[in-house]
Amino acid sequence: MTVAADLRSTGIDSRYRRGAARWLVLAAAVLVGLAVLAPFGIMLLNAFKSPQDYAANGPLSLPSALYLDGVVGFWERTDFPVKLWNSVFISALVAVGGALLSLLNAYAIGIGRIKGRLWIVALFLLANMLPQEALIYPLFTMAQAVGLSNSQWSVIIIFTVIQSAFGTYLLSSVLGTFPPALLEAAALDGASRWRILWQVVFPIVRPTLSVLMIFFFIWTWNEFFIPLVMLTSNDTQTIPIALASLQGDRMMDAPTINAGSLVSLVPAVLFFLIFQRTLTRGVTAGAVK
């Protein structure tokens, strides 16, 4: 009895604990995994290896001595703390702003059931698919006209709107299934729409909103094209742009490139690990919609 329960709790059916074929399949799946991991492994091996060591022993050897000049060189050349702050600042404000804008839109569409909402949702969906190239030059000239050229605020405003297009789409269909009884009870109590939004709707959709915010944060963090065009000076750029702009620099040797890649991906990986559970739930939610 307990054995059966044990097996069930690990999800393994005893019927399947036979045969050699399963080891072959497992080996194949692990091989695919190793192929995916290989570039990360090469990066780790070479981030702390001196150029001489690399020239002598190639990319697959363990570093003969811990070499930190690559990390230090990248850190100093990109002024990394500034870039890190820029990325955090932009992504965090977009995450909050985008979620707020999505909530307001979705409140009108999903709960207010305003007329023509099908078309409005379709428009938001369409906006989410547009190539940024079709917006960039006008946005660029507009930013110049209002004195926001090379300003992080231009990037924040643009991404708040772009991300909220997806957020509105997702949240509208979530709010469309909001229990009407709750709304009616609140309305009978004489609560205004504004109070219903913040005291009835908001607490209930907060988990969805937090998933959205994580998405917005990561997407904005990884964005490349618009920050590349809009942020032109060293003190405004984000991490991906800083890393990419070091490319072609003659001083970029193997350890610097690898250390730079490593340092640049650490925040994203950390963030992912912290919010992994929320995120997997979010990926699922996004898929079913």
């Binding site: 995994g33 059931r113 949702v121 079709a134 006008p138 709107v161 990561i218």
Partner: protein
Amino acid sequence: MADTVLAERRARADERPRAPRRARRRPEWVGYLPYLLPGAVAFGVVIGYPLLTNVYFSLFKWRGGMAPLRWYGLGNYVDLLGDDKFWTSFGNSLAMIVAMVLVPTLLGLVLAAVLFDYLGRRFGPRVASVLRATYYLPQILPVAVAGVLWNWILNSQTGALNVILRGLGVQTPPNWLGDPDTALPSVMLVLIWVQMGYPVVIFMAALQRVDPELYEAAELDGAGWWDRFRAITVPQIRPETFVVTLTCTVAALKVFGPIYVLTRGGPESSTLVPSYYSYLSFFDKSQVGYGSAIATVLTLVIVVVALVILGLQNRAERREREGV
């Protein structure tokens, strides 16, 4: 899909008892319009107006900045038709679709089914979820970082791959990103590496909602893994397959970052894509009108492709409902 959701919602709304009738005859929803106002203004300013302005710019010859706009009508579009690079760039979009949609979706289907229906049951869900996380790893790193890393790995002189190859005795290993013959396949390989984890994660999530008894019944009937894959897995997760196809196809048509960091569209335009071509026209060649025309065509292509995929999806869903 949105159609059905909204139709259901409308039906539910009709069942709902009406709130006490107000004295005014204004419909209920009008009161919610102010909540849409910030969104409407923001979208007008950041998306609507720039989109239209871009189309407007595409009707001029303009070097950008303070230079005068010179009316050119549909000239830019006519020029596009005779521009080899334009056709190359859209041809390469097809390669991007192969690398970002076709291969990852097929691989993702097989991997997800193997992890879920085979390895997960034989070695436990933990093995399956560790493998899934491994496949997903490239998805979380910024695409620029992935590109810079791969750019170095594939570098002809100092890159890891060629150093390894030389160590193995290959005298003149290929110049992966520098040779017009190998550049596009190399870029495609990197994109497959980046993209593959996304369908695996989505499909595995989708398989969670498939009734396990379906699989068990099929197994009792003597259906092998491949039969179950074809008869249960693929049809059951068709909605997710459409979502993945749609989002990845749009992403493939828009791809910019990887091209920028890997090859800058070169060598000899062998990896040029529409988005990079318009970027070049805007900010490198100062042909703003021409770049706007490319971006406009790209927008139209994306919208049409998205509508076709959505249409196919609707038809498939309708057929399924009718039980054909």
